[in-house]
Point group: C2
Chain length 278, copies 2
Amino acid sequence: METLSTNIAHGGMQGVYSHASGATNTDMTFSVFVPPHAPGAALPVLWYLSGLTCTHANVTEKGEYRAACAEKGVIFIAPDTSPRGDEVADEDSYDFGKGAGFYLDASEAPWSRHYRMRSYIEEDLPALIADQFPMADMTRQGITGHSMGGHGALTIALRNPARFRSVSAFAPIVAPMQVPWGQKALPRYLGEDRETWRRYDACALIDDGARVPELLVDQGLADNFLADGQLRPELLEQACERAGIDLTLRRQPGYDHSYYFISTFMADHVAWHAERLK
Amino acid sequence: METLSTNIAHGGMQGVYSHASGATNTDMTFSVFVPPHAPGAALPVLWYLSGLTCTHANVTEKGEYRAACAEKGVIFIAPDTSPRGDEVADEDSYDFGKGAGFYLDASEAPWSRHYRMRSYIEEDLPALIADQFPMADMTRQGITGHSMGGHGALTIALRNPARFRSVSAFAPIVAPMQVPWGQKALPRYLGEDRETWRRYDACALIDDGARVPELLVDQGLADNFLADGQLRPELLEQACERAGIDLTLRRQPGYDHSYYFISTFMADHVAWHAERLK
């Protein structure tokens, strides 16, 4: 692991790091905020998965999580959204290829060579964190994310209920099989067999029996991607109702899809996770 | 005034606006956060002047002021740091020309044509704010800033004590006549007569009799520009002691010159100003 930068902030340490990932076969960059803590302390970990076009940097700069994480004693980890590098297949599109890894392991060429963000978030990066950040208590992990990263948080948590004690999301894609973003990305990354898509669709996972104890979701009502039918929180609502999952879905009048929305409710989410990760 | 963007955030409205400035003879862009408030309310105003290389966008994205301004009911205004546009004289330098207006009215060609940031902040933009934001109570203004913008905040407040009830700064340039940044910029903008420089040097203004009731300054001790001798907070300390100005200078171990530093102490500064602007 290479340290790219460290800055003291809110009494803790905001770092940006790089490592050679065996999952993606590329170098990957991520950020970690370690709050102020006593020597030898074991701290819970909150993962934040970012949305389309983002890197680790967007939430690190604009997310306004550090004050809350410092107050609650929570480590905050922000990975990238796709493999990077000249050798990585890409196309000129904001919602497919680089910056749009959809937190899946691609099976189709040429994407299958590097687009393995599921393995990266589920196995590779947590192993590195456990090894390099001794204050991280990997028995107490929560996960959240925004938009495509909300999709990532929901699906990864639903497939790994033993790993995460708490799950939330900001304006998540809840049913990629039923919306244009997913209908573009899933067949190209995964092939035409829709059964394989279901492992990457939160609503389908729930219908197939996956469970988490509860969910917190914030959704801005002035979100243009809500209006465009990319998010469809009502589908998550219906799936949770069918499954008996305790979903708190807060529809926030006036809020859009930007970091102005995320940063407004970030402290709420950090506190919500901290309570469950105590 | 043209509205470039508006986003709901922390219950208020973060806007970015543009207008044709009579002071700089250019279009100028600035941001205003209006906190949630009752209809007809009159709200205090906090000006934030940015540092070298910045525009309004840096603090707007990274400053973490909105939660505190929403809680305290304070309007937050972030202007640009220089005139902009193809017609504006410039050179390939981070600390002179565009992004480095030093909040002065230049007297020397070619800079005198557009580099009039003093008039812009002292007269032009406040008149626009008073006209366009009826909830802004212009009898209750405070000012702060970072680095070159800390210099701007201090010098503008010292020259206009009746306008500002509260003044603070983050890692300010306190004595440009005595440090490399100022010794490069002042002669080129203002000419060789050092007497004219004194109106743009906080320590010289204090020595010449300018007064504010009190000052709050935060300075990171791991700030590379502190080590380089660009900031020299001890000179402000000495000037305030000679003048009997109540300076609270907080030296913050471990903090650097970045927005990680600024955002950490921003809520403190907003609360400090809000208390004095009640």
